[in-house]
Assembly symmetry: none
Homo-oligomer: 268 residues x 2
């Protein structure tokens, strides 16, 4: 037996018994007591034990107060926008009806929608967002179907060729899409190509398209353009937007849902 093995064994034994005797170890490991003493000496240097006459006892670790961590979920619900996301989700949840088959593309607002889904029954959720799928499946009356694909650690969502293929297999009543930009001229846009591809894949396979967008993202254009605005049936946002937009959207036949809290908060 190698020294390192012997020491490993002594460590384990000590952790179990909290104390060891030289004699006992010597017999157990079939080496001389001198050797055991030398081993214990090493372990004492490591700070693992305190030697005593005839053996050693386990040293109590001074715990470096690490009890603070243990964050639960990775979505930054501490983000400054968290409330706004939830406001939008609060509106959007009412658009969903029992028995609906919906797609929730990956994103924070859709995560909040998924958390509220236990209010509904017999809803089938198609999503590429891992956290959305977990929330949506938490209620036994609903069902979540996750799209396969390459996992993006940052967004906790699947993308890529497999995702696009999987999407083709489904047809949904409603798709909820979070966008990073809405603009009269450029339409709707998102900031990553993966998300753009995903949305483009699902659009043809959905009856009703519902755009979710922070009020602050109106009049903005993100890097990847998806389509013109008029593909959408509904837009949900958190703040009142100016009248020109309202008119424009109503001309296109798009329903605009706005969080009523917007005014109270006094935000623009």
């Amino acid at each position: 037996m190698f020294a390192i093995e012997r020491i490993r064994i002594i460590k384990n034994y000590l952790l179990e018994k909290n104390k060891v005797s030289v004699n006992e170890l010597s017999k157990m490991l079939d080496v001389s007591e001198v050797t055991i003493r030398r081993d214990l000496e090493k372990l004492e240097e490591e700070g693992m034990l305190i030697r005593t006459h005839g053996g050693a006892v386990l040293k109590k670790q001074t715990n470096p107060s690490n009890s603070n961590n243990m964050k639960t979920k990775s979505t930054d619900s501490t983000s400054p926008y968290s409330d706004l996301y939830e406001e939008i989700a609060d509106i959007a949840i009412h658009i969903i009806e029992n028995g609906d088959v919906i797609m929730l593309a990956n994103g924070i607002i859709n995560y909040h929608i998924a958390k509220k889904l236990d209010q509904k029954k017999n809803v089938t959720v198609l999503t590429n967002d891992l956290l959305v799928s977990i929330e949506a499946s938490s209620s036994s009356s609903n069902k979540a179907v996750l799209l396969g694909g390459d996992v993006d650690y940052e967004t906790k969502a699947t993308f890529g060729a497999l995702t696009a293929m999987d999407i083709q297999k489904f047809y949904v009543n409603k798709v909820f899409i979070e966008v990073d930009g809405i603009d009269v001229d450029t339409g709707i846009s998102v900031s990553t190509i993966d998300k753009a591809n995903l949305i483009n894949s699902i659009l043809p396979n959905s009856k009703e398209k519902i755009i979710l967008c922070l009020g602050s993202n109106f009049n903005k254009t993100a890097f990847y353009n998806i389509s013109r605005l008029d593909i959408a049936e509904k837009i949900v946002t958190n703040s009142n937007i100016d009248n020109s937009y309202k008119e424009y959207l109503s001309q296109l036949g798009i329903q605009l849902y706005t969080s009523i809290n917007a005014v109270e908060r006094g935000n623009i």
Copy 2:
């Protein structure tokens, strides 16, 4: 014999025995001790083993001295079996080589393997386990592909028709399967039909099948039978199993890797 062959043999030998001596290997492989030392040096750099005077022992990520505190993730690592799961994962991780394309079926052991994957490079992980996919994608040098399907809230994994279809699109080097029962007569079995179906789907599409099984699940048969034992190339478990099994497995040409915590079990 090429160096690369020799090193592969040493690896396997080490995984089986948990320790090797320079002298022993030198005789066994008919090369000088210097050569063996140089090989061990390489393997130590790879993080596979720890060299010691006279040989080397298999490296364990789970240091017994700090096994107490700092539990991180939501899977019940507080479960009494947690350490055993991790022991098995500690062995299994050494079976994975850089550049491998592997399947990790859903389960706790595979979750532990996924957490250790940051030691490896360019590994592609196919999985139906959401948590596994997140862990496996956390390192930028690796890649995770999640199988689509119906999400099961309890196991945080995907199952069903879509999962089976998605699996057909891939072929992997190695598949790691956690089973709930191993028996000489009945072969390998699991406790849910979903998992049984999943495993049956991937088996034809994998070159090497590696079974992960708690020692306590030997001689047991879970509800859903999967196949005979001889489809597996390797079995990894956490405790010594009796000699009749060892003989039987070696007759079938199955390599048995065992993690032994010698003292705990009192056998030296």
